[in-house]
Amino acid sequence: MAHDPMAHDIPPFSGFGLGLRREHYPDFLSGEAAVDFVEVISENFMVDGGRPLAVLEQVRAHYPVILHGVSLSVGSAHGVDTDYLARLRTLADRIEPLWVSDHLCWTRTSAHNSHDLLPLPYTREALDVVCDNIGRAQDALGRTILLENPSSYLTFPEDEMAEWEFIAAMAQRTGCALLLDVNNVHVSSRNHGFDADAYIAALPHDRVRQVHLAGHTPGEIVIDTHDRAVCDDVWALYQRTMRLLGPVATMIERDDAIPPLAELLVELDQARALDEGARVREAA
């Protein structure tokens, strides 16, 4: 039976979390890291057995877990990979995550997989493809999923709508929830010259369940590298964003040049303070 996302909405979860990285395993395995949830890269645990699954099950005993994927490829014109979805479902059934998320992008053709989050042209045809694929994924997984806005380094001459219009239409048609990556909005706004606040204002805020924060590499083209602290501009955009959103899970991504956990926890405290400040100001 087809999954009905409208009838199975994802309950909001409010909290602050980090990604599970090998360097910090001891802190998360002992349950001593002061976070409200842990996010993991789904594909790293879509394996037959061994240490990765043993670690994840132990971490899950201490924390709610979010499965964040990079290979669903909802933008692929050739459709979603049913074997991939079956493996993801097996993992989700085993871990019982808060939710399952992936990116608004494509990663593969029928012949090759780039293992990168490639950009989509924002056309009506692409929107049809994305919505069909999200529907199939939600049916196969038996759950509503979150889709994350990408960072991108080029746009297409064929574009027929803005990215935020594409995302709003996607959420409306599929009932999917949204993972709003504030850093990605900032990166793409710099690369493509749009107004980051206008982008975020145009999204359906009631569909947002999670927010990502990360660092990036400045330059002529700004690159989403996740290898440094969140910058001041992104913190400011985050605070303005939190005035618009209901309860969400906020997470800081760090995938390279990974610092000691204590350093990331200080960043997470900054997110907590800005969120609280935003909500106090909004209430006043």
Partner: protein, 256 residues
Amino acid sequence: MTLARQQAAFMAQVLDEEAALPPGWDARRAAGMAVYRNNYRTALVEAMRATYERTARWVGEAAFARAAAHHLILLPPASWTLDVVGRGFSYTLAELFARDPEVPELAALEWAMHCAFTAADAVPLDGAGLAAATAAFSDEDWGAMQVALVPGTVLVPARHNLAALWQALGEDAFAAPDYALAAPTDWLVWREGLNPVFRQTDAAEALALAAVLRGANFGDMCAELVARFGEAVGVARAGALLGQWIGDGLVAAVSR
């Protein structure tokens, strides 16, 4: 142009740095494509370096990066999992390092250890379990017995002392003596609990393991040992090997 054709063209441009970009693309879009091309190569070479850490150390980072890039051109990834990006790399290295045969052998061992790391879980059969499973066996049952080894178990043939090379490459500074062996051997790779491990085999054990791994029953395995080593040695080794494999935690199950 349909989305499918546009994506096929875009993928070809990511995979091939020399591929022409679509007509009408400006310098800004070309610069964006350069980012995607770089992301693709960097991420995949890094994934291969993680799988082949010791091979990279042995040949040097620059030579490894060139070999990995060459392999990715020969075999662009098709699967959703980065875990298999390095599949077949030992064959690529055998061509690139034809004068250094220990290089593909080391890579083959690293690949086997990598695969064993995430192989399916199994609870190895211990001595009591074997006794219980075979308590009611007739002689015919013993002959027909299928021995299932724990998932991830493979043999890696080599002409070099991979144990010594492996150990040396795990240390801060390593020597580079000639690791060649007097005779070819097979290295047995399996997972002990959560840890992939390997050890050397002798000719009889390698013959027996190869038989079991291709699905031969215990009787056929014995027959191969007898044919190669004679009746007395062959039969004695068959029983001793089964006991050794039980002790090593190599046997997942036996069945008639």
